[in-house]
């Protein structure tokens, strides 16, 4: 594994988990989770529903007990939470939890009162981009705006560590994009963030490191870019050629070559290869020599999604 490319990595982790286990009756929800999160780092826990994401986060937040393992959050065992510790963490639960009758500003004022050194309420309104809705009651906000207020409430105590449990589940694409930009903006505040998600793009867009969980275990943990390379998945070269083309004349290309008939009788070809440069050279050389017109040429690196599917598919 390459070294973690972060300055923060030299300091003490804000979250440290070793061998974390948790069962519900017969179901083994967590089967030995190991993870460290460092200051100012955004780590995404990515996995399908039921993988153990929320269980992990709720143990770290002090809501759930654990069966085994060592857990330290900001130097405190969350099974024995203290008021001083609560001052330093911010929590956004999986479901939006707002008092519908209070306005954006009132909601933030209420929670600000719980902390000894809260952040300025108007500044938080700006951070979550709700300036125009400051006087609007929570029940009248859109789903995306409500979730941003939810994040604002978690920020109002000025925490060192923020938990975001599936912050954008159920959003339409534009609301999701807005939420991402807001969360990415938190990086400038220097907060450590642990977020769970089942969206690959979300992990890719937001996280410094991604932990992929499946069936209660972390099956991969790295930067979004390295996750793809580490898994040694092949690159895909795709193109289309006229339907009557004789593909057998393409020599020595790739490990697999699949084709299907596309629109207008053309042939769509996909080559999966571990030598994309050499194969691309052969394909274009072959096309030039044979005078065949290649359309829609595309080279696709394995996406985080491909890695994710490979790791989480049973």
């Amino acid at each position: 594994m390459p070294p973690i490319p972060r300055i923060g990595a030299v300091s003490e982790p804000v979250i440290s988990i070793r061998g974390l286990r948790k069962s519900y009756d017969e179901l083994e929800a967590l089967r030995g989770i190991d993870l460290e999160v460092f200051p100012e780092e955004i780590v995404a826990v990515l996995g399908p529903n039921g993988a153990g994401k929320t269980t992990t986060v709720e143990i770290l937040e002090g809501y759930l007990s654990r069966d085994a393992g060592e857990v330290s959050v900001l130097g405190v065992d969350p099974a024995r939470p203290t008021t001083a510790w609560r001052e330093r963490i911010g929590i956004v639960l999986q479901s939006t939890t707002l008092e519908p009758a209070l306005t954006v500003r009132e909601s933030l004022q209420q929670y600000a009162g719980y902390y000894s050194e809260p952040r300025d309420v108007d500044e938080v309104i700006g951070l979550v981009g709700l300036e125009e809705q400051a006087g609007t009651r929570a029940r009248k906000l859109s789903g995306g705006q409500q979730r941003r207020l939810d994040v604002g409430i978690a920020l109002v105590g000025d925490p060192d560590l923020l938990f975001l449990d599936e912050p954008t589940t159920g959003f339409d694409p534009s609301a999701r994009r807005q939420a991402w930009e807001m969360i990415a903006g938190l990086r400038e505040l220097g907060k450590a963030v642990l977020l769970t998600t089942h969206y690959m793009e979300e992990a890719q867009f937001l996280a410094d490191r991604v932990a992929i969980v499946s069936e209660g275990r972390i099956v991969a943990l790295d930067t979004p870019d390295n996750l793809g390379d580490r898994r040694q998945l092949p690159t895909t070269i795709a193109f289309s050629v006229p339907g009557e083309t004789d593909l057998s004349t393409v020599e020595g290309v790739g490990q697999t070559l699949s084709h299907a008939t596309g629109e207008g009788g053309s042939l769509t070809v996909e080559v999966t290869t571990h030598e994309p440069v050499a194969d691309l050279n052969r394909i274009t050389g072959w096309a030039l020599e044979s005078g065949i017109e290649i359309r829609q040429l595309e080279v696709r690196r394995p996406s985080l999604e491909d890695v994710y599917l490979e790791l989480t598919d049973a």
């Binding site: 008021t83 639960l93 479901s95 707002l98 719980y114």
Partner: protein, 257 residues
């Protein structure tokens, strides 16, 4: 000092939330007044011979005050704390530095203050519309009955959240408990119309005792200070039982998630 300020902080927001919730305002503030107007218009200027010839309208003032206090405390808390629990608001509150008891104290304080407001409103309506006497000379008994009863029924409301499984069940369960007791305890129907057996059954529950304490404090036929210590002790005992149940079994996390 900090704790007291926090309780006031929570109280302020509980007030805002209460008055902005149309259901709370209707059921707690308007419905008792509506009941008073309806009962008074039905029974008019009748007198209850069994109770020393007291006017029916005078009888209904402490009856409706009892109902209003129970609505503002037990019913209000059982419904709204259950909803807050199921919506995850209690869980979220537990994730902050706010001491859990402050969260409860702010809402209990709100319920007791609204009880006081309703007592004043109902008493004034009685005076203005029906010439029901204001019990100035027994004001200490009225105040003590209010505080003991409101506190006890707040505890019972918190205890009720323990058995209410979901927000949908909240109003069904609280109504199923309160409505029959209002009928049996002489709140809706003058107790002179209720068979003795039924009344002695109702005597097993705190609604009846609470009403009797208020009636003694309000009735112009009462001689003395109007304190019904025996009835108040029963109400307080019920409250203590509710408090202990809530202390032991109260849930901060949603049951239906």
């Amino acid at each position: 000092m900090r704790s007291l300020a926090l309780v006031l902080h929570e109280f302020r927001f509980a007030q805002k939330v209460f008055w902005r919730n149309p259901a709370s305002v209707f059921f707690t503030a308007l419905l008792p007044v509506l009941f008073l107007l309806i009962f008074a218009s039905i029974f008019g200027d009748d007198r209850i011979e069994e109770l020393g010839g007291v006017k029916v309208t005078t009888y209904y003032i402490p009856a409706i005050v009892t109902l209003a206090v129970i609505s503002a405390t037990m019913v209000n808390l059982a419904m709204n704390v259950t909803i807050a629990r199921e919506e995850g608001l209690l869980k979220r509150g537990r994730g902050t530095p706010l001491p859990p008891w402050v969260f409860i104290a702010g809402r209990v304080g709100n319920a007791i203050v609204i009880s006081g407001v309703m007592l004043v409103v109902v008493t004034l309506i009685g005076k203005l519309l029906y010439d029901a006497p204001i019990p100035w000379e027994r004001l200490p008994a009225v105040a003590v009955t209010l505080v003991v009863g409101a506190t006890a029924f707040c505890c019972l409301g918190l205890a009720l959240t323990v058995i209410i499984p979901s927000r949908e069940a909240a109003s069904a369960i609280t109504n199923a408990i309160t409505l029959p007791l209002y009928f049996l305890s002489g709140i809706f129907i003058p107790e002179s119309e209720i068979p003795d057996g039924v009344l002695s059954f109702a005597n097993h529950f705190p609604v009846r005792d609470f009403f009797e304490a208020f009636f003694a404090a309000y009735s112009p036929n009462t001689t003395g200070s109007g304190f019904e210590w025996g009835e108040l002790a029963v109400v307080a005992a019920w409250g203590l039982a509710g408090f202990l149940i809530a202390l032991r079994y109260f849930r901060w996390t949603p049951r239906n998630r």
